[in-house]
């Protein structure tokens, strides 16, 4: 390599390191904000001292209630919100690429609803109430609903492709309505309704119950899912002109579809089993990210993950402070912000087509 090339490569590396550290700082700042803001606000130095006590073995004298709120409630909540936002956003990017449909996302396609039904079914049947079996149930439910929705769209004559934009979305609406109704039905019918959490939890999402064991599940699953998708960034790009074009570019289409859609379904399912189904993150955030960095997945995926994480942490803060003394379902906030964003996508989309 010539000196100029080495110099250039070095500059690119520096820039990348810069971006990555800026991103990590941004997400940490968002989480810190999430921990400080709330019904009682926790000053930043208190947060720092709590973390130092818990993680570095420091021994600041702290009010155990404050420390408990920070460590067990606020921090877990903010971390799960960040990873959940990243997961949903990445799932949206992947589904949009695979279905070549700007409006695809786990919520609209009924994947989230299917996951809810799966999780609720596991709870009611008492197949072990643990977090893991809940997630497995949700995963099964999400796959069932996705397959049903795609089959319905195919049967309606569209299949997967540019012309099928409307059909797959309509099928998704039918699918989510069906699975949401099933979820409500199961919960309402069940004898031990109190242990299933409310209908609202599964339909609109709620971060109130999040604890450390949820963090321990959400963080690794999100990390694995995001890494799998980033690993396949070039294959995702190759789908730009459709599956046939991807195949002739050397992509094993079926295998890649199974892997990345499986990863998206897995992330969505686990997040749904922890916080319920949250809408609009998977569609609005990817579009915003695309607007910023363009359609290539090497940049799009990390940026969408970061923005999704920050967005959901902020949405969670909003859900806690918007109405005094009351916590809104987080899905209410994401819908309030997301629906206008969605409208904007529809309008912009029409202009470019």
């Amino acid at each position: 390599m010539s000196d100029i090339a080495i110099e250039q490569a070095r500059r690119i590396t520096y820039r990348r390191v810069g971006y990555v550290s800026a991103s990590i700082l941004l997400i940490i700042a968002a989480i810190a904000l999430g921990v400080t803001v709330g019904e009682t606000s926790m000053p930043l130095h208190l947060v720092g001292q709590t973390l130092a006590n818990k993680m570095l073995g420091a021994s600041y004298a702290l009010d155990p209630i404050d420390a408990g709120i920070i460590w067990n409630y606020r921090l877990t909540r903010a971390i799960v919100a960040a990873f959940c936002g990243a997961s949903l956003s990445i799932s949206g990017v992947v589904l949009q690429a695979m279905l070549r449909n700007a409006l695809a996302d786990p919520y609209i396609l009924g994947i989230s609803a299917g996951a809810s039904t799966g999780a609720v079914t596991v709870l009611i049947l008492g197949l072990g109430g643990g977090l893991l079996s809940l997630s497995l149930g949700a995963f099964a439910g999400s796959l069932v609903s996705f397959v049903l929705v795609v089959m319905l769209a195919r049967a309606a004559g569209g299949g997967v492709g540019i012309q099928a934009t409307g059909l797959i979305i309509l099928s998704g609406i039918a699918g989510s309505q069906l699975f949401n109704a099933l979820t409500s039905f199961i919960i309402t019918r069940s004898a031990n309704a109190e242990q299933v959490r409310g209908v609202m939890f599964w339909l609109m999402g709620n971060l109130s119950g999040v604890r450390w064991d949820d963090v321990m599940l959400a963080v690794p699953i999100a990390t694995i899912g995001i890494c799998v998708c980033i690993w396949h960034r070039r294959e995702l790009d190759a789908f730009t002109f459709g599956a046939d074009s991807a195949a002739s570019l050397g992509v094993p289409v079926r295998k890649v579809q199974a892997i990345v859609i499986g990863a998206a379904a897995m992330m969505t399912a686990v997040m749904v089993s922890i916080v319920g189904s949250i809408g609009f993150v998977g569609i609005v955030i990817p579009h915003a990210a695309r607007f910023l960095v363009g359609p290539r997945h090497a940049q799009l995926l990390p940026v969408a993950a970061l923005m999704g994480g920050v967005f959901l942490v902020l949405a969670d803060i909003g859900s806690r402070i918007l109405v005094p003394n009351q916590v809104l379902p987080i899905g209410v906030i994401t819908a309030l912000v997301g629906a206008p964003g969605f409208a904007l996508i529809l309008i912009r989309g029409r202009r470019t087509r």
């Binding site: 070039r234 459709g242 074009s245 002739s248 094993p252 363009g294 290539r296 470019t352």
Partner: protein, 253 residues
């Protein structure tokens, strides 16, 4: 034999779209595929590209049955430009051509200077060098076609399959693209509508109702009888001032 179709067939439900097609293409040769609309040219090319899997028969590349090669190997050997393909993504011309490098890059391999060179060269070859930054949705049909061809060239294939590549092109670029394909060292199979363009190929295959009627040199194959039987028009060969001949068509009276 670099590319070989052995008794290829493809059917949807009970309808036979392509039936017992066999032929061989030699290294460096340019084979033109002609035939009326719906005669199965596109389907045959998709079979050759491995996008459709044959319901009977087999495609061989360099003597290897395609079924036993993996997709990446195929992508490094063979490039295919579909008759139509479009996107609603706002990617640039350069982005679109960079996709051609997919088969050559593994997940951990960074984009290299060499890839940059290949992409730049491919753009030059289709006369799109100054338009790298243009966004896909701002391009004309012919410009898009040239980008597709550049992407196929960026795959550095041994075999190039083109489905009616000259369709949206102006006359100048029709000529330059065909000349480019002939001048390249690659083996190519091109579906064409213009019989005069087919005359410039090394060999011509004629498709009709899913079958390969005949294959051979343009002068053997393109006879007045065949043109009348297959295309339903009467034709006349005229000789240009430089001695080359061209075809004129008239409806059958």
């Amino acid at each position: 034999m670099i590319l070989e179709a052995q008794d290829l067939g493809w059917q949807v439900r009970a309808v036979r779209i392509v039936e017992s097609v066999s032929f061989q293409v030699r290294k460096g040769e340019t084979l033109g595929l002609i035939g009326p609309n719906g005669s199965g040219k596109s389907t045959l090319l998709k079979l050759l590209a491995g996008i459709l899997s044959p319901s009977s028969g087999e495609v061989h590349i360099n003597g290897n049955p395609m079924g036993r090669m993996n997709r990446r190997e195929i992508g490094q050997t063979l490039a295919f430009v579909e008759q139509q393909s479009d996107t609603s993504e706002r990617l640039t011309v350069r982005d679109a051509v960079e996709l051609g490098r997919t088969a050559w890059l593994s997940a951990l391999q960074p984009w290299s200077e060499k890839d940059d060179c290949i992409v730049a060269q491919s753009l030059v070859r289709v006369d799109m060098a100054g338009m790298e930054k243009r966004s896909w949705h701002t391009l004309s049909g012919g410009e898009r076609q040239r980008v597709h061809i550049a992407r196929a060239l960026a795959q550095q294939p041994e075999i190039l399959l083109l489905d009616e590549p000259t369709n949206h092109l102006d006359i100048q670029h029709q000529i330059s693209i065909l000349r480019l394909v002939k001048a390249l060292a690659v083996t190519s199979v091109i579906a064409l509508h213009d019989l005069n363009q087919a005359m410039a190929c090394d060999r011509v295959g004629v498709m009709s109702k899913g079958r390969l009627l005949t294959i051979g040199s343009p002068s053997e194959v393109l006879t007045l009888d065949l043109i009348r039987d297959v295309f339903g028009v009467s034709a006349r060969f005229l000789t240009d001032t430089d001695g080359s001949s061209f075809i004129r068509f008239q409806p059958i009276q």
